[in-house]
Amino acid sequence: MLMQNKTKRTQGWMGIRRGHRAHPAEWLAEKFIFLVSLTAIVMVFLIFAFIMREALPVFTGKMSSALVQPAISVNDIDKIPRVQLQAYLGLTDQELARMDKDTLKSLMEVKQEEQDDIPQNFRDNPDAKINTTEWRYMLLPHQWTGYSKPSYIWQPVGEIEKYNIIPLFIGSLKITLVGLLFAVPLAVGAAIYVSQLARPRLREVIKPAIEMLSGIPSVVVGFFALIVMATVLQNTFHYETRLNVFVAGIALGFAVIPVVFSISEDALTSVPASYTHAALALGSSKWQAAWKIVLPAALPGVFAATVLGFGRAVGETMIVLMVCSASVMSWSIFDSARSITTTIAAEMGEVVSGGVHYRILFMLGALLFVVTFLSNMAGEVIMHRLKSKLEGKR
């Protein structure tokens, strides 16, 4: 009986048929447990929904950061579209819905007075009329007054707020790549050693020790990089800027190593031992078996580990925030750079809640969420496929 049911687990519990009818309290408890277990789904949904909620005006374009705006006369209140009025007054959807016409009119008068107070030298600056939150100003280089050529600039504080997010993307990318280049070879090498080559007793010690690395809080890694490592690395490699992408990347690597290590190790150990035994029986050395048989079989797992490591690296905040945070647009790894996470962490404390800058920071958060969500999904799917393949389920 038990054996027969094994394929259809849904029928009973652990393949056991119920001998008695379910009690109402049992039924109620089961439903309650089920509802509570949905929390994880609800939370993922809420995270996405509420970050998007704060960032929405950026995507819909109902926002304006232009200092000098073509004045709209109070008498035209009925003539212009609501969306334009909303952007002009900088209101959210709810605020706009709540306000009656008189309130809107008085707001428009206040706006008019504000506009009249802007000094003349500002009025002459062509940049002051630009709504810098439009996508073309956030993604493409622009010829700002006073700059020699069109450039990508993230400068949210100042007379003219510039929100080009490309430097932040490049910053994140540079730091992440350095981190992965440092962490992946080390972590995968260690995973091969621990899972294939080390003696079992040694393995029992090394594995938890490496996993302990993930127990070090990132603020401590950041502190170590800032106080100790930055000086040591500068004295070794003799570069100019003490705090740069290189230092941040290596420190970030410390946080990525445990992730890449555990997943690659998991993938390598799930390769059936018979593969190795066969190779050894044919006369290959332990290393040859590991390198030519086990590693190729587990390669998707190593790839998944890298993808998940990427997700961890892109989202890491404190290490990067402490080690390098000056926004410099350059491809050199010996310059400073500002990542997306750093920007959010450093600037969120000083913004006006509901303002333009606030919403753009939430937009960056939403992008970060989507990027890590996708890389996690990809990593999961690859790992799942690999495991079912190795276990011969498919």
Partner: protein, 324 residues
């Protein structure tokens, strides 16, 4: 660790018990050494960080330091202390466990005891848990700000007609809830692991004696899984204790003259204090001693907890092996 292994490849030594390739292979020798070196390097990084903090932090540590509430200028090593930070961090992780353990444990019970393995819902729950584990901590901070403070908090204030923001600002409660969402996967995974390790025979025996499923779970399965649940809770606490990014906008304070008294108060925090000391100090050489001491306290806190979790887990595995 690499040297003894690589230098002692005894391929030419016929007296070894292990099965080895008959020829000495240079590539094998070289690459085994290389992977061993990688392992060694990682362990060295860990050791260097820990030893560096231990050696430099020890001298700055004193009873006065951990039991003093500092004045406004906490950069002066002679008068400063970290009592409010220790208390702030402890309170926020304690409040967090109150929320995360029940939800995490119940989810794990559903996943192992009730969920039909192939059902769509089960797969979605698992995917959600895995994804929650991968969401960057700063995104949790944004979520806490956007959801708990700006949505729930501000609406609560509106409902209660408070004249000034009480709920609609950063506080211990919102920081703890944000951390609870973040550490949920840790508790779920650890509990699930311990539930799965309990032999089916125990459940079968209980059911055969006429117990209902709920009774079996409450009286047979859960007591057995208790060490696993504790491990999950401890790991969650140790993870949350060191996190700074999620609390940046949800309740941490740069300086407070008093300890937090209510759940709606802001708090000072060890991790955030490390960040402040290492980036905003007017004289980094002077503050180095208190900085190291603070790092040591945080590390001891998180590592002691991690270590306890590892011990419980090892003990549990041994016991279960005996059961099987």
């Amino acid at each position: 660790m690499s040297t003894p292994v690589s230098s002692a490849v005894p391929a030419t030594n016929p007296g070894r018990k292990h099965f080895r390739a008959e020829k000495f292979d240079v590539a094998s020798f070289f690459f085994t050494g290389l992977t061993g070196l990688a392992t060694f390097l990682i362990l060295a990084i860990l050791a260097v960080i820990l030893l560096n903090v231990l050696i430099n932090g020890w001298s700055g540590l004193s009873w006065r330091f951990v039991s003093t509430i500092p004045k406004k200028d906490f950069f002066d090593p002679a008068t400063t202390g970290i009592l409010p930070m220790i208390i702030g961090t402890s309170i926020r992780v304690l409040v967090m466990t109150i929320f995360v353990i029940p939800i995490g444990v119940i989810t794990a019970i559903y996943l192992t005891e009730y969920a039909p393995n192939t059902a769509f819902v089960t797969r979605v729950i698992r995917a959600a848990v895995n994804n929650l584990a991968g969401v960057p901590s700063i995104v949790f901070g944004l979520f806490g700000l956007g959801f708990f403070i700006n949505f729930i908090g501000k609406n609560l204030d509106k409902l209660l007609h408070s004249s000034q923001p009480v709920w609609g600002q950063g506080s211990v409660l919102w920081a703890s809830l944000t951390l609870a969402v973040m550490t949920m996967p840790v508790v779920i995974v650890a509990t699930e692991e311990s539930l799965k390790a309990i032999p089916h025979g125990l459940r079968e025996a209980s059911l055969a004696l006429g117990a209902t499923k709920l009774e079996t779970i409450m009286k047979v399965v859960l007591p057995q899984a208790l060490p696993g649940i504790m491990t999950g809770g401890i790991l969650a606490v140790s993870r949350a204790a060191g996190e700074v990014a999620p609390i940046l906008f949800t309740g941490v304070a740069y300086y407070m003259a008093d300890l937090p008294h209510h759940l709606t108060d802001q708090f000072m925090d060890l991790g955030y204090h490390i960040f402040v000391l290492s980036t905003q100090s007017p004289n980094i050489e002077q503050t180095k001693s208190i900085l190291y001491a603070t790092v040591l306290v945080l590390l001891v806190l998180t590592f002691a907890l991690n270590f306890v979790a590892i011990l419980i887990r090892a003990h549990m595995r041994k016991q279960l092996r005996a059961l099987h």
